[in-house]
Every structure is written in structure tokens, then in C-alpha cells.
Symmetry: C2
Subunit: 327 residues, 2 copies
């Protein structure tokens, strides 16, 4: 029984009826921004809005995949139908996603779990457009919670984790300078910190550092976002220690934001951000066509003056901005 | 003698006449995107185009600041009037730039050297708009070469280094996973690799890894950009060893791209990228005003339908895209 040739509405019915292959097909169509993508998004948007969306991020080597695996295992034992979206950095040399983590996660997950890897490159319109569409589908198909695992290196990956209902930031002892540089951004995002590899020397130092930073950021108003101070949980993901405590803390966060109205606010913001990102991507495409001289006259003349040094880029941009309404 | 109250053209004349305070004032105006910024950019653009712009990037802790300092010291000894633009990550807690490197660099640089730090946050329109304007001013004021030092973590910082005439990527033994993740992006950018801390164990392994990656990327066509294979130079920046060899390799790269036409092409692309970035920033501001309901009617109704789940974000974006021409 091939899914090809079926109308999107029919594939969608099968997906929400539990047919995993149908769901996989819809995700592929949404990822590719295929012509059916908008119809699928409409169907899913109406149906979605129930899943608890959890972002799990941290630097490479922090063990966040292992921790995600342990949480997924626990969710299986609790009888929950969870989905995992693993956003992997892709190599520009091969274009493929690194699937190592995925395989390991499938070993521990219950058969009910839906696991999907997404490469970070090669999406029409970029990752920040592709991920919300996939999360919406998983949500509409009844998966709850939906876990998004991203590597906390690039701004895009960090942003994606930050759009979740609950964002978990995984730290470890000995992460070094890379995280120092990123710490600030991650600190602002975190609803919950996990200090993984808690059996290693230095784990308590990491905890103390995070505590200190939270004290400082309280002054600059960070806690006002939720009115809550992020908890810090110690884990040893390899043995599974701390995974139940992590899950409890995630649930506490969700309950708290559901009660104070933050949950609805975050979801509305997520949808509005998607509208904004799609609009920007659309205009960016139009500007590129304009700059390539494909849609509006007089553009190449302005650009020539820039490269001949008779017109500064800022002035050229102001002149061309008047033409944007024509594109 | 205060510079305030003087017209930009007068401050500009003083700056190209060698008055450092005047140049500093112009940079501040450009950084802030002040009302005088466009006039200053016009004056500078006509005058600029002579400086060799060198980007130096690498992960935190790779010693690129120390290496930059050693190169600057050498340039002083060679009688060159160099400028350094150090793009530092800024703390969201303090908003200030980390000036440690700058102080150290001033110890070794000749008094002719112009050194400026730029925080990575707080620029009107973002760093990718602020940096080209400052480089243009340093160029117009007769500094040559202009070195831009950025931390190779964020995409923006990496992009900035990548717009230089010659981009130097600094690697070290034991950089760990963070660089693994970034390696791909940095590899594409590099016109020249420096393996710093060459006295440490593992330095030759780094060299071999880079060599191997260059072999692989040759297949995927990376070398076609310049027709050149990036050199790999071993340095111990702390003692200054390898700095003269690094400078020679930088000059070889410049001579080669000047000869094959790449240099003019890169400079034209840099200016055209700035036009594009400024146009995008302008449209982004207009879209945000539209989404805030400030410029076009009917927008809040569309957004309400999204948050009430009767309209998917993709459909909303398509409807609103029709209004972009009105903004």
C-alpha cells in the first residue's frame, strides 16, 4: 500500500490514526516545503496544541543524547507516547546527518516512541522554518511529550531549543571555553539546568557556577520571564541516575507555566515567530531576485556604482529600499 | 579642541590627516548608526579600497589574540601602519566588551597602530552591518593592513572573518569537540591555517587532520574559490615563533589573489553583501512594525486567527506577504 498518490488529507488521517509511515511521509513533505506543505500545516495546526514540547540542548559531548535516551526510556515505562526530534549537525562534505545517537536511542525507547533525525542543512527556508512544522505534526499525531534535542553551538540550534515549552540546558564538568562563550545565551534560555556526568570531579563547581550566574541574572531581570528560578539537577546519564528527577523537574516547570499563563503565551509566541520567520524568508527571496536584476529595473546600475566606489553600500541600500515595494 | 559640533566632512579630513581622536569619533558614529553615518560612509567609500583586510579567527583559547599581537608587533618593525579591530563577545550581564586582549596588544604594538575593540552586541542593525563600516574607515584613514580578529564560535563572527581579503583560521592541539562541530564552517573559510601552540603534544596531529580535510574538500571543489590550497603554518604565538612565517604566507595569499582577480572580486562581494544586509535589516524593521499593527490594517486579525488555531502560520505568512508591498 503506497502512500504516493493519496491526497494529503488522507495521509493525515492515517497519521493521526497511528500509522507511523504516514506520519513519516508528512514530515518529509513538510521538511521539503513541498507543494502539499501548506495544506498539511493547516490540518495539523487545528489538531495540535496538546503536546508538551521540551527542548534539550547543550554543548557537544555533554551527554544530552544519552540523557534524552534515558528520559525517553522512562517515558516508555510511564506509558507515555513520546516523540523525539534529533536535530543533528550535518557535514558539508557528506550532506548527511550523524545517526549514531539515533540508533542508541532506539535501543532504549519503547516501540511506541517516534524518533526522527533532522539534518541541520539543506532545508528550504532553513531549520527555523522546518522544525516548528515537524513538531506541529508530531503534536497533532498525539505524541506527548515531544522532545527536541539540539546541539547548543549554533545560534539557530539554540533558538530552536528556546522555543520549547520547557528548555533543558545540559552542562558538564570540564566543558571548557566553548561553553563559557555560549553560557550567556544558554543561561537566558534555560528553564532547567542538568549538570550531567555528576560523578566526575568538578560537577559541584559547575553547579555552584550556575547558581552564581542565576543569582546575578536575577538582578538583570531574567527570572521575570517565568517568575521562576531554574532548578539545577545532577545526573549521570550513562547509568540513568538523575533521569527521573530530571523528568519530575520538567513536569514541575510545565505545571507552573500552565498555571501562570506562560504556557499559552509561549505557544502563541512560537506560532507568531513562525509567521515572522516565514515572512522574512519570503522577502529575502524577493530581495535576492531583485539584486540579481530579475524583477525590478535600475538595480544593476546602482550596484555597479557601489563596486566602482562612487556610491556607498548604505546609500545604495536606501535607494533600493524604495524599490522593495515593487517586488 | 572638541570634535563635537564639527561637520562630519571636517572630522573626516582630520581623521585621514592622521588625527586618531577624529577617527575614533567617526567609528563611534558609524557604530551607532548615527544620522551622520551615511555621509561618513560616502566619504570613506570613495577613499577606501587600498588596505589589505585580514580576518583572524579561531575558537576561544586558540591563542589568536596573542598571534594577532605578534603579527602587529612585526608589522610595526616593518614600518607598516596597521589597524586592529578586535570583535569581542560581550556579556549580556554587563554589556561591555572584554578588553583583556586589547591591553596586551597595545603593549607590543607600535604607537602607529590603531587598535579598536567592538562588542558583539548592542549595534543598531547588528555586527554584520557595523564591521564593514568601521573597516572602511580604517582603510580610508590609510591603515594597511586592517586586521579583524573574531572569536570563531558564532555564525556572525565567523561570517565577518570570512569577508576579509585573507582569512586566517587558528587551530590548536586539544581544542576538543567545539571545534569539531565548527570545523566544517571554518574549513570552508580558511585561506590559511595556523596551528598554534605547536610546541604542545598533538600539534602535528592537528596539522595532519587539516591536511586530510583539505585533501577531501579538494574533491568537493572547495579549492576552486581561489585555485589555491590553503597553507598550514605552525606557530608558538607566546614566544612569537612562526609569526614572520604567518605574515609571509598572508602576503603570498594576497599577491596570488591580486594576480588572479580574486581580490577585486572579494571586495566587490563584500560591498554587495553589505547592500544586501542593509536592505534585509531595513525590511525586517518594516515587517516588525507591520506585525505590531503599526503600519498596515488587518494584520492583528490574521495573527489572532493563528493563535486561536484557525489559521496555520504558513498560510498567515502568505496572506501577510501580499501586504509587504504596502509597508
Amino acid at each position: 500500500m503506497s502512500l504516493r498518490g493519496l491526497p494529503p488529507s488522507e495521509i493525515f488521517e492515517r497519521a493521526i490514526g497511528g500509522e507511523r509511515r504516514a506520519l513519516g511521509r508528512l514530515i518529509t513533505l513538510v521538511e521539503r516545503d513541498a507543494s502539499e506543505a501548506e495544506e498539511i500545516a493547516e490540518l495539523a495546526h487545528v489538531k495540535a496544541g496538546n503536546a508538551h514540547v521540551i527542548g534539550i540542548t547543550g554543548p557537544p559531548g555533554s551527554g544530552k543524547s544519552t540523557l534524552t535516551g534515558q528520559i525517553v526510556k522512562l517515558l516508555g515505562e510511564l506509558g507515555k507516547r513520546a516523540a523525539v526530534l534529533a536535530v543533528d549537525p550535518s557535514s558539508p562534505l557528506t550532506g548527511g546527518a550523524i545517526l549514531g545517537d539515533r540508533v542508541r536511542m532506539e535501543d532504549v525507547a519503547s516501540p511506541e516512541t517516534f524518533i526522527r533525525s533532522m539534518a541541520t542543512r539543506g532545508h528550504q527556508g532553513g531549520l527555523s522554518l522546518a522544525v516548528p512544522g515537524v513538531v506541529r505534526l508530531l503534536d497533532a499525531a498525539g505524541y506527548d511529550p515531544v522532545l527536541i534535542e539540539t546541539v547548543g553551538v549554533g545560534q539557530v540550534e539554540v533558538d530552536i531549543a528556546g522555543t520549547a515549552d520547557t528548555t533543558v540546558v545540559v552542562a558538564t564538568p570540564g566543558m571548557g571555553d566553548a561553553v563559557q562563550a555560549n553560557k550567556a545565551g544558554l543561561l537566558e534560555l534555560a528553564d532547567l539546568f542538568v549538570v550531567n556526568k555528576a560523578d566526575r570531579p568538578g560537577a559541584n563547581d559547575v553547579r555552584r557556577d550556575l547558581d552564581l550566574m542565576l543569582d546575578l541574572s536575577h538582578v538583570s531581570g531574567q527570572d521575570q520571564r517565568t517568575g521562576m528560578r531554574p532548578e539545577i539537577i545532577m545526573t549521570t546519564a550513562l547509568s540513568g541516575e538523575g533521569a527521573p528527577e530530571t523528568w519530575s523537574a520538567i513536569e514541575r516547570h510545565r505545571d507552573a507555566i500552565a498555571e501562570n499563563g506562560q504556557l499559552d503565551q509561549r505557544r502563541a509566541n512560537r506560532d507568531l515567530d513562525e509567521v515572522r520567520n516565514r515572512l522574512l524568508a519570503d522577502v529575502e527571496r524577493r530581495i535576492d531576485r531583485m539584486l540579481a536584476g530579475e524583477s525590478v529595473g535600475g538595480v544593476s546600475d546602482v550596484l555597479d556604482r557601489v563596486t566602482r566606489r562612487s556610491l556607498a553600500p548604505a546609500t545604495a541600500a536606501r535607494e533600493l529600499a524604495l524599490k522593495v515595494s515593487e517586488i
